[in-house]
Each structure stands twice: as structure tokens, then as C-alpha cells.
Symmetry: C2
Subunit: 202 residues, 2 copies
Amino acid sequence: MDGFDRRLQQLLASAAKVFAERGYHGASMRDVARASGMSLAGIYHYVRGKQELLFLIQDRCFAAVIAGARGAVGAEATPVDRIRAFIRHHILFFAAHMDEMKVLAHEEEELSGTMRAQVRARKREYVNLLLGLLDGVPGPRVSRRVAAYALFGMMNWIYTWYHPTGAIPAAQLAEEIAALFLGGYAEPALPATSRLVASHGG
Amino acid sequence: MDGFDRRLQQLLASAAKVFAERGYHGASMRDVARASGMSLAGIYHYVRGKQELLFLIQDRCFAAVIAGARGAVGAEATPVDRIRAFIRHHILFFAAHMDEMKVLAHEEEELSGTMRAQVRARKREYVNLLLGLLDGVPGPRVSRRVAAYALFGMMNWIYTWYHPTGAIPAAQLAEEIAALFLGGYAEPALPATSRLVASHGG
DNA sequence: TTGGAATTCGAACGTTCGTTCGGGAGCCCC
DNA sequence: GGGGCTCCCGAACGAACGTTCGAATTCCAA
């Protein structure tokens, strides 16, 4: 990674922060310039325009999420464990990259043309990854598609209320959301956490 | 309701549609004028400015949701049934008022001053309503606060993917989300839908 | 030391923004 | 029939927007 790429990364990080705070349309290029320590005109040396700023944030963020999720899922043996790993990775990544993930979740429809198509393709890939995991669970209690979008809703909505530095550690949040989802989607009697086993065993 | 209020309602409905399509900051007052059939200047006879347009949409929508939820919840006897009624009402209302609810969910942070405070108070009231319902469930499997925000995430996220005129009726969507949430939050062995009862009964 | 590419920026461009202004219809009550 | 409302709009305002341009500065290989 040469100097150009490093400076571009700084710029994208600053832009993500500004976009997360004020929204894409609510933020101005002058805001980005101020936050990044660059001049207004200097930004255009690294980026073709405001829309490319948003595109690069979303595209790189999606690429990192997908790669990380594949790695996390691949290390697990059972379908339920793979789903739990998927959820844990998504939440931990979200908590570690709040600005970028908020921009990814909140500014979905602001791109146009080729950039829009490319980010949409990434999203489809990520959704399909989860749908494939859900397929492995026997006897689901709700439809796969609704379950997938409901899960993404639970997870992505955290940008409206969750603060990584607050009272709830991200790992705990991930476990609770995984328990909530798996308890509702998968068949009852999960070996580890279910109190069903305990009550029937006693 | 006199003529002024009726015309204002039309204006707010048009504005909600425009804000839902292009986002609050991405939409211009000229867009609102075009959509409502009014002139640009004519809008200011009904509203003090763009921000009041957003405020009135959100405030009235929240008031209707809260009132409707109270009515739906009050008709049920058990804690779980009250939660199910809450979810069903939220989803059905969402599907029936997509534009307004998308604006409510997506443009949360765009108000300022007194208007922001008033909408936030409404939101707090609505969240507290759900938290109270969750309190009635014995032996919850995840923390109340996380469960509440996760449920709102599932429900509000539908504006990113759900189309009321599509293949999934709103009532079915509501049942699936209720089953997903209650299966994960409440204790197992729900009398109505659980396949646990069936398998143990057979 | 020098030439050229990479990097940076002040200043300005044309456009669009939210809002305002002054006035013109339509209407009702005195 | 005239004064005072409500309702509505064309035109314009100043500000802010994304972007561009020409030049200054920095940097490194020759």
C-alpha cells in the first residue's frame, strides 16, 4: 500500500464519519474537507466526486464484511454454529466499524449507475451467504426469506441505539441476538442454552 | 376537520412520499411542490418550513401508531398475546402507511430543537410501551432492552425490502415476525403454534 | 541542480437550495 | 360595494452546494 492509498484510506475514514453523523446528502464536501484536514479542492485528487466517496466506503466495507463472514463461517461444523458465527462476526464488525457500517446500512439508495449496481451485487452476495446458512437448519419455523431479512434488521438496526463503549459489550450483544434469532428460527431443544432440556431432564 | 386541515393532510401525504423516495435532505421543496400540485410558495401557507413538514409527518404518524398499539394491546388477555398484538399492529400499520413509516424510521435524526424533543418523547413512549409488555413474560431468554430494540429492528427494517403488494401479505409477515421473536424471547411451549406441543402430544 | 510528476490549495464557476416578498383572486359579513 | 380575511403564486433573494481551474508547492530521479 503506497502513500496514495494510505491517504485515500484516511480520507474515506473521515468521510465515513461525516456521512454517518450528518447523512450523505446532509453532509457537504466542505464538511469532509474540514474533517479530513484536506482542502476542498484537494479531495478531488483522490476521488472523482462526492458519489465516489460514498461508493468507495460502501464497496470496501462490504468486501471486508463478506470476506470476514466467510472466514468466520468456514471454521464451524454445524449449521446452527455457522449461523451463530455469522451473527457474531456481523455484530463485532459492526461495533468495530460503526461509521462505515452505518453508512452502508443507512445510505443504501443514494448511489446510481454502475456504482449502485456493484454495491447491490455485493449485498446480494452477502444475503445469499446467509440464506445458504439458513437452508442447513432442519424444520425452520418461519420462512427463510423473512427470517433472513428479520435477522439483518435486528443486526443493522443497532446503529440507531447501540454504543460500543456503553454498558453492553459487543460480544454479549452478539450472543443475545444469536439466541433470540436461533430460538425463534431453529427447532427447539438446542443442546447448550435451552431450558427445555433442563426442565424435561429434571 | 376543516378545509385547511384537509389540504394540509394532502400536503403531508405528498411530502411523505417524496421524503420516502429521495430522503429528507435529498428532496427539495420544489419536489414537494410538484408532487402536491401546489406552488413552491403556496406550501408556506400551511407550514413554516421544510423542517416542520418532516416534524408534522413524524409527529402525527407516531401519535397514530401509539394510539393504535394501545388499542390493539388492550384487547388481549395474556402477556404473549399482547406482544403478538403489538407486533401485528406495528406491521399492519407499517404496510398501510409505508411512506410515513419509512420517513419515521429513516429520518430520525434530521429534526432539531423543540421538534426533535417532541418526536423523541413520542418514541420513548412507544418504546416504553413495548418494554412494559416484555416485562410480563416470565423467564425471558435475553435481556429486555436488547430484545426490544431487536424487535424494532426486525419490524422497521422492512422498509428496505418489503412490498405490501408483493407475494407476502402483511398479516402473514406479522405472524412470522411474531413467531420468530416470541420463539426466541419467551419460554418454549407456546400453546398455539409450537410443534413442541404437537410432538409431545403425539 | 534541474525537470517533471505528484500533491495541494485559494478562488471562482454555475446551479440549486430554502425562504421571502408583493400582490392577485375568491369569499363573506357589515 | 368596500374592507378584510383566506388561499395561492411568479419572481426573486442570499446562501450553500458540488465541482473546476490555474498555479503554487513538494518530492524524487537524473
